[in-house]
């Protein structure tokens, strides 16, 4: 199995974009990577601007995959499921394998 995923979702308060991103992410995890161990932290940069500074986050919402390496960031409300999975190197193997999208 893969290592544990460390995921962080940076949002700015409760904007529609933030809410949508969180909902999309939860759905995506449930549907596609049920078997994968992961830890998701949601960080509101309005409350923790220093965390955004340390991680050099500019755009929100943004999903950051801290582990496993490489670090990846996906900007936006995560509405395009397939691209998000790809960005996370999380192309579901067992599900209908997409056109050669190995790794």
């Amino acid at each position: 199995m893969v290592d544990e995923y460390i995921l962080r979702l940076y949002v700015t308060g409760h904007t529609p974009n933030s809410e949508r991103a969180l909902a999309n992410l939860n759905a995506l995890i449930k549907e596609n990577i049920a078997g994968v161990k992961y830890k998701l932290t949601v960080i509101d940069v309005l409350e923790h601007p220093q965390l955004a500074e340390d991680e050099k986050i500019l755009a929100t919402p943004v999903l950051q995959k801290k582990l496993p390496p490489p670090v990846r960031e996906i900007i936006g409300d995560l509405s395009n499921k397939e691209k998000v999975l790809m960005g996370l190197d999380l192309v579901p193997v067992k599900k209908k394998a997409k056109k050669g999208g190995k790794k």
Binding site: V45, L46, E53, K56, V62, I75
Partner: protein, 498 residues
Amino acid sequence: MKQSKMKRAGKKAIQFNLPKVSSGIRGFDEISFGGIPRGRATLVTGTAGSGKTVFATQFLYNGAMEYGENAVFVTFEETPANIMQNMKGFGWDIESLVKQKKWAFVDASMQDTTELEKGHYDLGALLARVENAVKKTKAKRIAIDSMSALLARYADVGLVRSEMYRITELLGSMGVTSIITAERMTENESASRFGVESFVTDNVIVLSNALNSAGERERSIEVLKYRGAPHSNFQLPFEVDSHGILVFPKPVLALDAKGFSYKESCGIPSIDKLFCGGVYTNSVTLITGTSGTGKTVMAIQFVLGMLKKKQACLYISFDESKEQIMSIAKGFGWDLEKYEKTGFLTFICRSPRRRCSLKLLNDVHRIIKRKKIKRAVVDSITAMRDAVPEAEFREFNRSLITYFKKMNVNMVVNASTAALVGSKEISEPHLLSMTDNIMLLRYVEENGNLSRVMTVLKTRGSDHDKRLWKYEIGSKGVKMIEPMSEYSEILSGIAKRK
């Protein structure tokens, strides 16, 4: 002094008297009538290498050092480490300001982590970081460098525009004065690449670094607009030297010189007699003559006379180097080096060229103030006339003379005439009217010898000797021999015994 965070008067009330903060950039406050609009955003735009980042950094650094206004630098291009390293070259120790919490970076330089853009987003995190940095340092000044890099990074130009607008609104509400840089692709392009300036800011400064026809780069700066406030309307030259940006403002030509009060020796007692007891302290003496009539020797003697009284002098030479002048002096047994070493004598030796005059005037101003100069010599103004366009020449002369008079500096100007003998020419008409005393040095043919003759043509506010005097340049300098009272038609060039 500190106005407590002046709530922005709002956009409705455009104040004619826009409050400004000192830019900390030498010469810039003069051309902008006071500096950068306080609590507002100002766009600084220019081509690559035009000095935008230096401008922004200097504004912040001097703000923190000189005016107690802490700084935030938002960088989209270089990393903070690079900026700190590069700016050390100007003697700016940003690192220690960061340690003292007077300066914070918001590092938005490109990261390795791939940012994949999906769906709807905004730059809320950037906003939060900027606000956080401003609060943390209690910053009053901020630089955002550059907006073009931000625009280039995110595909959505409209989004970046509206986010920049939010940022400037936020900074305005926090009473922070901001500089936003933006890149122009070419010198002729409108203020910036993405057309951001019109809605982000009311204030635009343009830097340029264009090639002139002679193939030299000429830096210049212009305040394009300050919404609702006056500013200088010229594009003015600037330089980036070891202390950062140095702008050369046009001197203000107020005619506020004091009247003549008392006379002092010009440095050569026999010539003092021609002026009936010397020249007025803040007068301008024009010495005009052909090459070889001894203008430089006289200039040196004039300076020496002052130096011996422990009064500071400035020698501006357009023809010869400092070493050449010193060795001419040495030939007469005069030690100028000693006075230069002790700081009483300052040289400016330059070969004039186009657009050199503003920088020169600024250097002169600085020296006059710092060294408390009492007498200045220009040797010779003709070299300047030959090198620069006429308009620049006139303006230079007027500025220089006006300034010397205002500062109560006694001035001697040498001008060359072309013809060897019998010249009708004295000098440029505008110089004649601007100068108080005029001395004519001429060659004259007399019984098969070439002699030198001098006369005083005018002295403003005083009587003078009207005779033509024969003189020599001897081993001790200018030596008066006798009035040529037995001759006539002397100024025709050929003296005839009566």
